[in-house]
Amino acid sequence: MNGLIFLIPIALGLGLLGLAAFFWSLRKGQFDDLDGAALRIFVEDEEEETR
């Protein structure tokens, strides 16, 4: 029972971390161009990637 005091916040915290990461990626436009993202690894020169 005592273990739960630590484990539950940790579990929820990890979940929240995942949710925050999802929100962040959505806001950064990572879901805007799903097909393009798959192709960009073939692009040779990625110097101009700074936005």
């Binding site: 539950i8 929820l12 949710l19 692009v43």
Partner: protein, 707 residues
């Protein structure tokens, strides 16, 4: 146009439909910034768009020029699609809600698993409270789309799929909260959140599908944000966007350019291609004082046109008005999910009420009766039903997109599956809608490289057609010098110290003037004739349509003499010289006889008919009005995608029906259990996720259905 010194940048969007691979992305992003006016370029491959940041004084034609230097055709995207931005925002909002409910579902499940595996007493209460803590904000946030839509329906005195969902979710949450507060054994927080999660997935899939198709369609729209080069009184030329054009301005229309407004020719002579406006295949010769219309294509030579009407006043505005009226009929179509909901929602409510009343009469007490009624609500909530339709439709739309058919939304697929008559436009639909060289095989192989050398340097539509056909034959251009183009006549160059020309034939060729002649030192060596050709698989498509039980006929705005050969080749009956109103009437007649009409057409004159048809398709080369009005768009020279789309739509409907059967069958097993009070939160969770997975798995079978 503020102070040029300030490094203020303008953001512009361009549609580049031709990007296909990673190489294109690299070429565009790295090539465009080499232009000193462009500071940044970012490709969105999914929507086939390029976002540019450029110097504020850059003119649109310059930017388009930068694209064509890289070998890409670019179309400016104006502000006209702000509505689309709003819809993309809705889609993002839904995705956020999916994320939130997914997170909540997983965490509540984590706690629920320990409750199911036997946690009791204080631990169970603690876990229930924690679940409530996660579930309540989630329901309030992620459930908004359902509450909003249910409230909207109830206020109008109607009911839809969202009404049982909203009621079920609210009652279950309230009861679970009561259970938690009184240390009861069962709380349904996991079920509620899972329900919201699955339903949101369905909603999101639906909206993604619409977004994706719209992205493809915007990429194809040419005229949006277009404009004209306007001659100022002081002689200078300035690019003016179509929306800013005004009567009495004088625009310079280069050859190969589309007119942006109605007007009267005040200088130059040329031929005008009317095919998109009227369906007529032969170009019309115009000179000073002739009227010309917006949306038509200038073929031959630059002309000066004095604008008489722009924007909403143009001749095509009439067609647009007809289109608006015709589209109203279609909006009455009720989607299959909503039709199912009309039967389903009252049944669900009645069942839950019956369960409550039954157990009350049996003397179970209101608390127990309520618990059972909630279990019935949760079990019958249309979780699988909410996924059944969108999952199948998005898989089908994705498969069709790979063969070059863009489906605008799910209801288009549903309507497409029902058609039993096809009315097909001729010019641009059964035919390619562009000139194709007809006698290239008769031309000496030795002069072909010379032809290509001259034609590839010109922007004239006939030259473009010649270049495409020659390149397809594998011809390589001969090196020539001193290339020059004389508007209204043609190309001229020096080849091995001899003067070669490619241009209008010296003598009339007898046909409708679509011919070009190659001469060396003034002696004609080859005359190439052009005509609009049938699509290569038109015959096969017509046969396949018949095999699917769809009776095709031609509905053309062109003259009977022009339509007859096509009709004969394809073995079709035809109605000719039809105005947009006539086409509407023809569709209304078929609809009146109980037929569901598939309209296939491309021109502005087909716009109203496309809007009125039970379902409609347009080729990718169609007018913007046609593409906007059509339910689906097929790309490329092949016509077979039309039949593939119909087959796919029928297959999708079959899968959707299977999914409904599965969902209803599951209810037949689960509802009696719920009635008898055997459904614990664990059973509800298994039943719900199980049925949803089965439905999605069934929909995925469509992926391999296209052949």
């Amino acid at each position: 146009m503020s102070a040029a010194a300030a490094p203020l940048l303008v953001e512009r969007d361009f549609a580049v439909p031709a990007m296909r691979c990673a190489g294109c992305i690299a070429k565009l992003e790295q090539g465009l910034v080499r232009d000193h006016r462009i500071t940044a370029a970012r490709v969105n491959f999914t929507e086939k768009r390029v976002h540019l940041s450029c110097a504020p004084d850059t003119e649109t034609p310059d930017l388009i020029g930068a694209f064509s230097l890289l070998g890409f055709e670019a179309h400016p995207i104006g502000d006209a699609n702000e509505g689309a931005e709003a819809e993309a925002a809705t889609s993002r909002e839904l995705l956020l809600a999916v994320g939130v409910s997914g997170f909540a579902m997983m965490n509540i499940m984590l706690l629920s698993v320990s409750v199911w595996s036997g946690a009791a007493g204080a631990t169970r209460d603690l876990f229930h409270w924690l679940s409530a803590l996660i579930a309540l904000p989630t329901v309030a946030y992620a459930g908004r789309p359902f509450f909003r839509s249910a409230w909207g329906a109830l206020r109008r005195g109607q009911t839809n799929m969202d009404v049982p969902i909203a009621i079920g979710v609210s009652i279950t949450t309230a009861l679970s909260l009561y259970e938690t507060a009184t240390s009861g054994p069962h709380a349904y927080f996991d079920g509620v959140v899972m329900l919201i999660f699955f339903l949101l997935c369905g909603r999101w899939l639906d909206s993604v599908m619409r977004d994706r198709a719209r992205g493809g369609v915007t990429a194809l729209l040419r005229n949006m944000g277009s404009g004209a080069m306007v001659m100022e009184t002081n002689g200078a030329n300035r690019w003016v966007n179509a929306s800013a054009l005004e009567p009495a301005m004088v625009m310079l229309v280069a050859m190969g350019e589309r007119l942006a407004a109605d007007g009267i020719v005040i200088g130059g002579t040329s031929q005008i291609d009317l095919s998109l406006l009227t369906g007529e295949s032969a170009p019309q010769r115009v000179g000073v004082d002739d009227r010309v219309h917006a949306g038509t294509l200038n073929l031959d030579a630059p002309v000066r046109v004095k604008i008489t009407a722009a924007g909403a006043d143009t001749a095509i505005a009439d067609i647009a008005r007809l289109m608006g009226e015709a589209a109203q009929g279609k909006s009455r179509y009720v989607r299959i999910a909503d039709r199912a909901a009309r039967l389903y929602a009252p049944a669900v409510h009645a069942l839950a009420l019956l369960a409550f009343a039954g157990w009350m009469i049996a003397g179970a007490g209101w608390h127990q009766s309520m618990l059972i009624a909630v279990a019935v609500l949760i079990i019958t909530c249309p979780c699988a039903l909410g996924l059944a339709v969108p999952a199948a439709q998005i898989v089908a739309a994705g498969a069709l997109m790979r063969v070059g058919v863009l489906i605008k939304d799910g209801s288009a697929l549903e309507r497409l599956a029902e058609v039993d008559r096809a009315l097909i436009d001729k010019t641009g639909t059964l035919t390619l809608g562009r000139p194709v060289a007809t006698n290239l095989d008769d031309v000496e192989p030795t002069v072909r490289p010379l032809l290509l050398a001259l034609s590839q340097a010109s922007r004239h539509p006939l030259s473009a057609a010649l270049t495409r056909d020659l390149a397809a034959m594998g011809v390589n251009a001969e090196p020539v010098e001193a290339l020059a183009e004389t508007p209204g006549f043609g190309m001229e160059a020096t080849w091995r110290a001899r003067r070669v020309t490619l241009g209008r034939p010296a003598t009339s060729t007898g046909d409708n003037g679509l011919a070009t002649q190659l001469s060396i030192d003034g002696d004609p060596v080859a005359t190439i004739h052009f005509s609009d050709q049938l699509r290569p698989d038109a015959r096969a498509t017509i046969d396949a349509l018949r095999a699917e039980g769809i009776a095709p006929t031609i509905l053309s705005g062109d003259r009977a003499e022009a339509v007859a050969p096509v009709a004969r080749t394809l073995g079709l009956t035809a109605q000719t010289a039809m105005s947009p109103q006539d086409k509407l009437a023809a569709i209304a007649r078929q609809a009146g006889a109980g037929h569901k009409v598939l309209m296939i057409g491309d021109g502005l004159n087909d716009g109203p008919a496309l809007a009125a048809g039970h379902a409609s398709m347009a080729p990718g080369s169609a007018s913007d009005a046609g593409k906007n009005a059509a339910d689906c768009i097929f790309l490329g020279d092949q016509m077979m995608p039309v039949v593939q789309a119909v087959r796919m739509a029928r297959r999708t409907q079959a899968i959707v029906r299977q999914n409904f059967t599965l969902a209803i069958g599951y209810n037949f097993i689960a509802v009696p259990l719920a009635f008898l009070g055997y459904v614990t939160p664990l059973v509800a969770a298994i039943a719900m996720s199980g049925s949803s997975l089965i439905v999605v798995g069934n929909a995925l079978r469509l992926k391999r259905a296209i052949r």
